[in-house]
């Protein structure tokens, strides 16, 4: 820790060691014990810290806390509804798919059977014997 760096730390972070960079705190404190100029600078920065600490912000009031918790409940309720809605949508989609599939099968199957029947009929030898017109008569 150089005297310049210690001066820089005080100038930047103020007099409270808790606010100094973690990695340099121990060395800075050690350096302070032998650096009179830095000790004087520490006192000056401590005065500024005391002034800065005079600026406080009033805590949130009960109404504000209530609004925050109400917003959470509303958000959480909506999140549950959203999950439920997504679940219903998926279930509905699955049900609709099943119904549509059933309809397709119901409509398409007879046609398929007709087609199969025709093909089967075509594949069969004729059901009628050739008309005897005497050509084959002995």
């Amino acid at each position: 820790m150089t005297p310049e760096r210690l001066a820089g730390i005080l100038d930047t972070y103020g007099a409270k060691p808790a606010r100094w960079p973690d990695a340099e705190r121990a060395a800075a404190l050690q350096r302070l014990t032998v650096d009179a100029a830095a000790t004087q600078r520490l006192r000056d920065e401590a005065l500024l810290d005391v002034l800065l600490d005079c600026s406080t912000v009033p805590a949130p009031d009960a109404a504000m806390i209530q609004r925050a918790t109400a917003a959470f409940r509303q958000h959480h309720g909506l999140a549950i509804l959203r999950k439920w809605w997504v679940g219903c949508t998926l279930a509905s989609a699955a049900l609709a798919g099943a119904v549509a599939g059933t309809l397709v099968i119901a409509v398409a199957m007879p046609r398929f059977e007709d087609q199969q029947l025709l093909e089967w009929v075509d594949a069969q030898p004729t059901l009628f014997t050739p008309v005897d017109i005497g050509e084959g008569a002995p």
Binding site: L51, A59, A68
Partner: protein
Amino acid sequence: MATEAADPDDELLRCVGKGDATAMQAMVARKLPRLLALATRLLGNRSDAEEVAQESLLRIWRQAPRWRFGEARFDTWLHRVALNLCHDRLRKRHREELVAEPPEQPDPDASPDLRLVQQDEGVRVAAALRTLPERQREAIVLQYYQGLPNTAAAAVMGISVEALESLLSRARRSLRAALQGVRA
């Protein structure tokens, strides 16, 4: 220099993500005063600050169920959210000021000393903070008032630690000059 220690908000955040009402109340108690203080000091307006704090909390409720633990420090993320919301407010305010009437001038007959005497130190410090350039004000609010480690404050502002130190040093110098003669 980033610390790898466990995030002190992890457990609470996990419970909030599951919709635990008690955890939510604890989260409000832990974060709302900090969010309100940050926004009040940056915006200088209680009403705007309350809206920013409430909106930041809403972002927590939305983010908690899908928070990826171990990837980022929650408090740093939350400060970045609040800071961005403050930036939005300040931009909006700036646009409104451009089209609005010029601000009322101070009464030249009132003695500056008298006005100073009427204000207490806290008010004067808050006023001095408001005169700082925006980035200097952000730096000192995050590091000094919010108590963020220098690495976290730099991360929230999206700058290096060296750049943060430069802003802090200039901010403290300006504040020292502005508060000369004031004794707490």
